[in-house]
Symmetry: C2
Subunit: 460 residues, 2 copies
């Protein structure tokens, strides 16, 4: 039986994990490499060299299970890590559970930027600094990733250039100010700083931008300047690997609670926070040592895993990246403006998609109204205000608990609270005032966006 | 020598202090009781009974040094307590310090409401619930206290009615939404809910409100309804006592660092966060077991301790509370709109003022521009974004460190980071864009507001 005298487990710094877990060598089936869209041949390290430093490229394709975390990265992690893991006892009570179904959550909102994103922003900044890079560029939509990279760059004394989608730049000024406080240079995208931006503005001076355009701008600057790299906040393997610090800590903390999760839940946009909490538990399943279930939760408005198809597709909207094997809605897909901006992505991390494809990971989609109902129930019970993204995981966890109660089954549920909602209060306002709108995805709209899939490689 | 291998100390829940420290019996000199403004006689418990439950009234006048923290309050404290204590090593580096001057900070921004305020909101809600009270009323300006009480009421299933100064209600909508998310009922003050509000609106329908008016509205509702109490977020003794959980934890954490603070620093508005971190250290000095210095930091725009006079004055602007012995700028004083809304109070906690009067506590005032410079330096080094209020403490700590370096003296400095600035980014924006304005207080303006002091009691 689990320990009932503990609210949260906070590990001492001495128990901070010192290596990340790389799931690549453990994935079921043959690895599917990213392909060059021109040649349809596997992309090699040399193709990525203009954008990323060698250390990160090596991690991207590494077959080593464990990757040592550099000392200077551990030093920065200690500003907020190990992050706490809670037993959601008050949420259980508010659901009328009596201990047979138990809820636990990992709380990543304690980082300076308020989410899990610094777990990878910090090592990315570190490896770039080591490689002699002077400046990092990136794009940001809602602002979580741009904030995390701005913080990481301040930490390792790098310049940071953020292209922020213009509509967000105008509607979320406080995220912009946060980045500037850490010293970043923030441009509304499309901007006049790049050829890509100028081309868009020439055609449409009133363009409000898109993540695809912002990526093009950030990549252009990095590709043209030897002292500048590009940084990506999700999807890629090295990003998912860095995030496994979450799950590695969570395993030790669940042991301290003397409990074992039956199901591990997280929200999925590009996949990095859910990869982070779940891969260390998946390792045990892949080794045959556990029978944990895995549940990825996404918005009905952007149902990549539940309604997308498994195919090679571009990572970006503009169609300039390598082709990646993943569940996708088509790279042309324009997600409706749900408040969970971090979940509005047409694809998902290839490693995660492989686990869904293999039948090991389940996926579920929700409309945003029941998600905000879950967020409200959580915040009144547990206090913390979740961001819209992890509120999807909360909804999934609540439904799992209620289903187990219905079936009179014991079920231990662990979910990832990947960030706070302090910069998302307008979404709560919309929910509380009854103006929140749901965006079901029509079949014909999905069919249309799937037309954007590129030609697929011939079967091997 | 201090431990150099530790970034932060996070105590396990098992080391959470189980009693608060009440400084009243240890204060130097004869205690000066609050006086009834009509009779000029000491106020008795019966005068406070219409507003507060008996348990809190007893704590207000208690001569017991230690007050046990009830189990249900400890259970809620464990949602975020013990809070971490950091060695600000990266800030030291950015200041060019080499270890002879050492900076430590206690981080209260990890609470659900984002500040130290829940340390007292939670026990206040608990004691009211125990007394059969159904609803709490309060006022809030910037919103920190209203948020904390809303959270506490959600926790103990009490109704919460918050009168929010209208200008803040309109300019800080996200603080309002935060309170509503926790289920509070929030009115812009002056409101039509009370006679006090209606009187103001009749004279001036466009009134933007004031903290004084909001207090009058909250007190009116509590005084008229037997099932309703009023809750105050600072100044009173029971509030300062609840906050000593901060300093009690900090003492154990400094021991874990194997270091001893030479000076303890905090910002002062009503005084509760600084009382909280400093009184447990002051206890040792009062007992003759330590020689710690104490430095209270306030805004030049509202320089209660540095330019106010020590006298009996009303706690509120409207002149309806008991008279309290304190440093005051006169209860008519209208502080200019500095961003540190929590420091805009004409008086200070009587216990804290007594320690300043006795020469044991020092005080210093700063303009807000150098305070935001310090906030920026802190956030770029340590990551976390401080609220404008604790940024005053940061500025004080930096100046102490630099003065000690100048004198080539060893100095160990502990300061309280009492809350995050996630809802204050407009202030950072003003600073970064060069539009921040300072508000020096002219002598004649101070002389005018001191005219509002009531007749003083005859010397004993």
């Amino acid at each position: 039986m689990p320990r009932e005298d503990v609210t949260k487990v906070v590990l001492p710094e001495s128990e901070l994990p010192t290596a990340w877990y790389n799931i690549l060598p453990d994935l079921p089936g043959e690895p599917l490499p990213p392909l060059h869209p021109g040649t349809m041949q596997p992309v090699g390290p040399e193709d990525l060299a203009p954008l990323f430093p060698e250390a990160l490229i090596m991690q991207e394709v590494s077959s080593e299970r464990w990757i040592d975390i550099p000392g200077p990265v551990l030093d920065i992690y200690k500003q907020w890590r190990p992050s706490p893991l809670y037993r959601a006892r008050r949420l259980e009570q508010s659901l009328g559970l009596t201990g047979k179904q138990r809820l636990y959550y990992k709380w990543e909102g304690v980082s300076p930027a308020g989410s899990h994103k610094p777990n990878t922003a910090v090592p990315q900044a570190y490896y770039n600094k080591q490689a002699g890079i002077r400046k990092l560029t990136t794009e940001t939509g809602a602002g979580q990733w741009g904030s995390a990279l701005s913080y990481a760059c301040a930490t390792f004394d790098l310049e940071c250039l953020v292209f922020m989608v213009k509509v967000s730049y105008e509607h979320k000024p406080y995220r912009r100010v946060m980045m500037q406080t850490w010293g970043a240079n923030v441009h509304a995208s499309p901007s006049n700083e790049t050829q890509a931006g100028r081309n868009i503005l020439e055609k449409n001076p009133e363009s409000t931008g898109s993540l695809g355009i912002a990526i093009s701008e950030a990549v252009e600057i990095a590709a043209q300047n030897a002292d500048t790299s590009y940084a990506l906040g999700s999807v890629l393997n090295h990003v998912c690997t860095h995030q496994t610090i979450i799950g590695l800590e969570a395993k030790r903390q669940m042991e301290a609670f003397e409990d074992v999760p039956d199901v591990v839940i997280g929200c999925v946009g590009g996949g990095s926070n859910y990869a982070g909490i779940s891969y260390p538990f998946a390792m045990d399943v892949l080794e045959g040592n556990a029978k944990t279930r895995f549940l990825a939760v996404e918005p009905e408005a952007c149902p990549t895993l539940t309604r997308g198809i498994y195919a090679y597709d571009f990572g970006d909207t503009a169609g300039t990246t390598p082709l990646m094997p993943m569940y996708t809605l088509g790279h042309d897909f324009v997600p409706p403006p749900v408040h969970a901006g971090g979940l509005r992505y047409h694809g998902d991390a290839p490693s995660l998609c492989g686990l869904v494809k293999a039948g090991m990971y389940e996926a579920r989609a929700y409309m945003q109204t029941p998600v905000f109902e879950a967020a409200l129930q959580f915040s009144r019970a547990e206090g913390f205000l979740p961001a819209p993204e992890p509120s999807h995981a909360i909804k999934g966890a609540i439904d799992e608990a209620l289903a187990a109660r219905e079936a009179d089954e014991e079920r231990v549920i662990l979910f990832n609270m990947c960030g706070h909602g302090h910069f998302d209060m307008s979404a709560y306002d919309a929910f509380l005032s009854g103006t929140l709108v749901d965006f079901p995805l029509a079949d014909d709209a999905l069919d249309a966006s799937l037309q954007s899939l590129p030609p697929q490689p011939a079967p091997a």
